[in-house]
Point group: C3
Chain length 350, copies 3
């Protein structure tokens, strides 16, 4: 069972993956996000609603943006963090629960669904077994157990709110928030890090830019390929939108003519479960840090990153501090986008 199956298995307006949305839903969410960036986004459209956000992993933007989005729209956000003030949750089926987890999502989400109008879930990839991660096991179990809409606040495989915010930011940057003003070359570029990170964000970025019909170049060292299923879907979406996806391993050539450089680190899948080797891989590719010289190869390209970003490792300070950086605009767009997905989940037309 894939996440997509869950999403369509009932009439709940889950938002689990950018793979699932149809074209109209994608456009509608972005249009609503733009609308909600204005005065409409401070009206009590969701008066009295309650949204629960469950974080298995840390968050700054996602959590704050949902809390503020709820407040701005007259709703209330409950913040839950298993492991801190709340026991750990089990999500596997048919297990004797003799470990650390004191409650199963079946009961936890079951009860929460009776107190809340929507549930958000953050659950990063374990990065031990790529096939298991590809099933998005925690998010899938939560969606299956929930009687209310579930929003993906970054799962093993996808980060749809980031992808939506990135698409909106680029549309705005190109001059028209209502549509991609033109097709441009977008380089989604791998970056080094201190530890291997999951692929949810590059997945979301490639899916989002493919949906908007851009010429997407995915640049990464050999061995760092994204999930095959996601890439196939991205190619399909790019085709429908008149765009393209190309994979390159030459970071310099990739930059030529780029209008956008979207940097992000992630760990090589063939080293999942091998932390030391993965860290060594990262150390071997420190030259993938995005520098001002790299940006000089582009066609006056903008710089994007989902944040948090490590300065002096993922990207040079000079790039982040330049007028080419859109990172704060991306962060700001999160608030607009999350208002739109909350309205969709709760059946309110903004």
């Amino acid at each position: 069972m894939s996440v997509g199956d869950v999403a369509t298995s009932n009439d709940l307006k889950h938002l689990l993956s950018l793979r699932d949305l149809d074209h109209d839903e994608w456009e509608k969410l972005l249009h609503h996000a733009q609308l909600l960036a204005g005065p409409r986004g401070r009206e009590p459209l969701l008066a009295g609603r309650r949204f629960g956000q469950i974080f298995l992993n840390p968050s700054l933007r996602t959590r704050t943006a949902f809390e503020v989005a709820c407040w701005d729209l007259g709703a209330h956000a409950v913040y839950l963090q298993p492991g801190t003030g709340l026991w750990e949750l089990e999500y596997r089926k048919d297990v004797s629960m003799t470990g650390a987890a004191a409650e199963h999502v079946q009961e936890a989400i079951g009860v929460l669904g009776r107190m809340l109008d929507g549930i958000g879930m953050r659950s990063f990839a374990e990065m031990e077994d790529a096939a298991e991660d590809a099933e998005d096991p925690v998010l899938s179990a939560v969606a299956a157990a929930s009687s209310v809409p579930v929003l993906n606040l970054e799962s093993a495989m996808d980060h749809p709110h980031q992808g939506l915010a990135d698409a909106l930011t680029l549309r705005r940057h190109l001059g028209d928030a209502r549509r991609p003003a033109r097709k441009v070359k977008v380089v989604v570029r791998w970056a080094p890090h201190v530890k291997p990170l999951p692929m949810a964000v590059p997945h979301a970025a490639v899916l989002a830019f493919a949906r908007d019909g851009h010429e997407v170049v995915l640049a990464h060292p050999s061995g760092c390929g994204l999930d095959g299923g996601v890439l196939s879907r991205a190619v399909e979406l790019a085709g429908e939108a008149g765009g393209s996806i190309e994979v390159m391993h030459d970071k310099d050539a990739a930059m030529d003519g780029a209008k956008v450089v979207y940097a992000k680190s992630w760990g090589p899948r063939y080293l999942y479960g091998k932390q030391d080797a993965a860290c060594a891989f990262l150390s071997d590719h420190l030259d993938w840090m995005v520098t001002a010289d790299d940006m000089a190869r582009t066609d006056d390209g903008a710089f994007m990153h989902c944040l948090p970003v490590r300065r002096g490792l993922v990207v040079e300070d000079a790039v982040l501090d330049s007028s080419r950086s859109l990172v704060l605009e991306q962060g700001s767009a999160r608030l607009d986008v999350q208002k739109a997905t909350l309205c969709r989940a709760m059946g309110v037309e903004p």
Copy 2:
């Protein structure tokens, strides 16, 4: 000084133990809970009020239900967790505070009472010294220090909101939320676990079902007796309501004719302070897990548990996943009940 003495030492509408409520208060709380389960529970009855909830131990339902209850009624809940973002609190009198605790409840609760309209406190049993637990030392100290009503969010000895929710759930199950539709056999049944747990929930369950006049059978292995004072009070309450309390050690015989099986694990008191021996005791009694076969011995009995519950250890999946399980209804009733106790604490007639 017992908790009950504190509760009556001033006019504050504390809710510290189900032992203390008089008959009219018990009925009124349940009636209000049922009323607040409807549209009345979404009106701003507590507009502008502030409720602080302090958790020394983890929580999902209690915390979320109070936060949502406040929101639904126009109030605001502050969530405080000593040990995480807040130092530990001392509750003992006349000590030189040279340990981990940086503040005494005398000052902490004293100040909070000047900013809040009510305070909830969770403080589990230490399970080192049964006589000390029986005094409910933390809750008692908090109630004594508070200038505003204090609600017990599960203390060493009692979990009144759980007991209220359980009584309401059973009333609803039997067909009339306004009163126990009939007297039924309710088995409060001990269950195994990975570690010894406190007795607050079985205490609350026995007190609640006794108050509603049911035929309560308390089934547990020899050595797992509940607190004598609580049991005496339960017997007294059962007598007043036309019910009964019986203790049995034969788990199979206990099930015969049961209309409700209420499972819960707790640790044997004679092994307090002896963690390894207590765990060995639990391991020796794994056959107390509630199974579909056990349920087959009942008179079409319903299954209840306060949650969180460990699947495959406390109860078989087949029981939890059957239509006989009321666990989600119990969780849902928590919201209704906690709205009622908030209204009582803050002097508002719903």
Copy 3:
């Protein structure tokens, strides 16, 4: 660059240090605090606003008072705690971020400023390098990165909300919240502890009482001097207000004729970075605990402490439990004062 420079480098209504406020601002904040202690403090003066409070260190009063202040005034407070549910933040410039911190305040505060109307920051002194602490490096970096007003929720050097609350409490105690009813002798007295603490609170207390023109006696063991820059500024402020600052090492002589004894522990600066020696210093001065005998030397003096306070170490129970103690009044005044600083930050005249 000092904190003061940041505060005046743009038009934002930061509140970073009591050193920076001019006389009119100081008086206006205290007048507004008193006004907001009444019914005006429960009106939606800040309707729809959002305030983010970031705590690098624990809090009870500051955090609760801001959350309640926001609620009372129609605003919402977001609570963020780097290290728990949120990664650590880097604040230094030009570093390669290969350590624990996953995000720089440049981006974190940059994004938050686009979702919030004000940001509060708590960041205690590191107590490794006094010169570095004197720069208030974290607070300064946050203020410099923020596009919205920043409030100091206790930094390395100052705790302005505590100082404001202390001044208001003493004014009330002396009979007129609108002004210091008369000039009195206030002893800010060093106290022992289990570990060395920062100087932000004694700094704030001395600055606050100096601003109100009192006869301030700073009593501490030799070696525990406050920051020279702060003391100079306090002497300047005292001079302007007709008061005085005197430093004494004789704890008994200091008490003679005191109308207020303000106790607080802090670590000796010359032992910064030497934890064992600092603890030994504290142990050597246990006789600085404030006792009922000490209070008997005063002129019917009141007792003040910012809280949290360690009973039986910083002060005898008999003093805290006497009618001379103003500690709960100080805590209560925090709510009033923080309403006033929120209004100032957000440009609202109460």
